[in-house]
């Protein structure tokens, strides 16, 4: 009985001591005392920056852009709209920073600095943009990248919209005339005096071959005399005399000549500029023909971009 009483007393006293000690423990007195003994710093200063973030602007929508057709040897201007949102209000949107680009991997990004701010409400503002696509820009899906920065320098961007740039197969040829100066019966392997005819890819079809259909040239005075199509050869290198021999009314692929899309204004007359030169050669003249003018009559020679 006495033991039980003693145990109860110990419990009560122990509880009282624990209760009295707790405040000191929680206030860190013991830790402080320990730190003093060990030499640890008991207090220090720290700088704390608290930034209250503004709403970041977002481009909530870029209007759908229908599939676009390239324009032969020119540009196609695409006008489109996008909407920016700022939770702080449209006054936070910096109109001067509204931008948009057309992007496609491996292609030059198309852009334009003019961007017009349009109608707005409390938090939304519309922007109109026009960007020119070139005739040689690659076919396929292009991504619209629209962005804006608010007055706090926080940016918002949207790249969720794409549009299709269609395929344009187009070509031009120049110069306007191809001629041989003086030709006689002994003439062989003579290139045209103003070789080559340069074929320009004025569209964006990636790769094309060139086929040429030649016809016999008929005497304009004596119609029974011909310079045969087979007397001509056409190739992609100088003079073209080692090129493909023509055949009357037959489409012949000019081997080794490929027309790709490119910027014709570079003017290098090769694939870099989307051009292909064609060299014409008169290999020989039939030995029995008379001196007169020869033409193809109603049958025009034809260069086909296939």
């Amino acid at each position: 009985m006495e033991d039980k009483k003693r145990g109860l007393n110990v419990l009560i006293v122990g509880s009282i001591i624990l209760l009295l000690t707790l405040p000191f423990m929680s206030s860190g007195i013991f830790t402080n005392f320990y730190n003093k003994l060990t030499g640890r710093a008991t207090s220090g200063t720290a700088s704390l920056n608290i930034t209250v973030a503004a709403y970041a602007p977002t481009i909530i929508e870029v209007r759908e852009i229908a599939a676009q057709n390239p324009t032969e040897s020119g540009t196609t201007v695409i006008i489109f709209n996008f909407t920016a949102y700022d939770g702080n209000g449209v006054s936070y949107l910096d109109d001067a920073t509204a931008e948009a680009y057309f992007q496609r991997a491996g292609q030059t990004t198309r852009s334009n600095t003019s961007c017009f701010a349009g109608a707005s409400s409390t938090n939304y503002k519309n922007y109109t943009r026009s960007i020119a696509m070139y005739y040689f820009d690659q076919t396929g899906a292009w991504t619209v990248n629209a962005s804006i920065v608010d007055i706090n320098g926080v940016a918002g961007e949207n790249t969720s919209t794409t549009f299709t740039y269609n395929q344009l197969a187009a070509m031009t040829m120049s110069p306007g005339a191809l001629s041989w100066a003086t030709v006689n019966l002994a003439t062989t392997d003579t290139g045209a005096s103003n070789n080559p005819i340069v074929v320009n890819n004025t569209g964006n079809k990636a790769t094309s071959s060139l086929n040429l259909t030649a016809y016999n040239l008929m005497g304009e005075t004596t119609a029974t005399h011909y310079i045969y199509a087979g007397n001509f050869s056409v190739g992609g290198t100088t003079a073209g005399c080692s090129g493909v021999v023509m055949s009357n009314a037959t489409s012949k692929n000019i081997t080794g000549v490929t027309l790709v899309n490119g910027n014709n204004s570079i003017g290098t007359n090769n694939t870099a500029s989307g051009q292909a030169p064609l060299y014409f050669c008169l290999k020989a003249v039939p030995q029995t023909i008379s001196s007169q003018a020869y033409s193809s009559g109603v049958n025009a020679w034809n260069v086909a971009m296939i």
Binding site: A67, N69, P70, T71, E72, S73, G74, T139, G140, T164, N166, Q167, L168, A169, A170, M171, T172, M173, S174, P175, G176, A177, L178, S179, W180, A181, T182, V183, N184, L185, A186, A192, I197, T202, G203, K205, L217, E220, I227, F280, L282, V285, I289, S290, S291, Q292, A293, Y294, S295, S296, V298, A300, W301, N302, V303, A304, M305, I306
Partner: protein, 180 residues
């Protein structure tokens, strides 16, 4: 021998050939190409528009279309009897309408190729050799639809029987349990 030399001297310096290129510009826009096929279901019919352009030079150009397609799935519609299209200078929106009809017995995964060649018709000018241009466009038509192979009918019956057997067994089992 003398006669031959005389003939050569007469010809010397008088045979001048001139090839005149019209600097013609021809172009055709297609919404479909080799990497961007037209996709249709078996038996489905649709119309698409190609667009002719003549934006370089000052001459009007007439094109004649030559259409070829596997299984003759494509036809020119709204074209005149000679399939000729006049494209005035500085225009880029002359439509060429094609109707594509996929055979009803086509299978998913089948592909048909459609080719259209536009030949420039030369304007007749005597004493010259004209060089005209042609452009072509081609695109595949891919047959879409349910590409999975049909479930064999005997397997379907087998599965149905199996399910019925399970249901009957369960009913019997429950009945027996109830009777107990």
């Amino acid at each position: 021998m003398i006669k031959n030399n005389l003939q050569k001297s007469v010809l010397a310096g008088v045979l001048v050939i001139t090839l005149l290129s019209l600097i013609s510009a021809s172009g055709v826009v297609s919404p479909y190409w080799s990497d961007n096929p037209l996709r249709l279901n078996p038996g489905e019919t649709t119309t698409i528009n190609l667009t002719l352009q003549n934006m370089v030079g000052d001459q009007d150009i007439t094109f004649q279309a030559k259409l070829s397609s596997e299984e003759n799935i494509a036809t020119l519609i709204n074209a005149n009897s000679e399939a000729k299209y006049l494209v005035p200078s500085k225009t880029k929106d002359v439509p060429v309408t094609l109707q594509i009809q996929v055979p009803s017995d086509a299978k998913a995964g089948d592909t048909y190729k459609v080719d259209v060649l536009f030949n420039e018709i030369a304007s007749s000018q005597g004493g010259m050799l004209h060089v005209t241009s042609s452009v072509s466009t081609s695109f595949p038509v891919e047959v879409t639809g349910n590409n999975t192979t049909a479930f064999p009918s005997y397997l379907a019956w087998l599965l149905t029987g199996l399910i019925l057997l399970v249901i009957i067994t369960m009913i019997c089992f429950k009945k027996k349990k109830k009777n107990k």
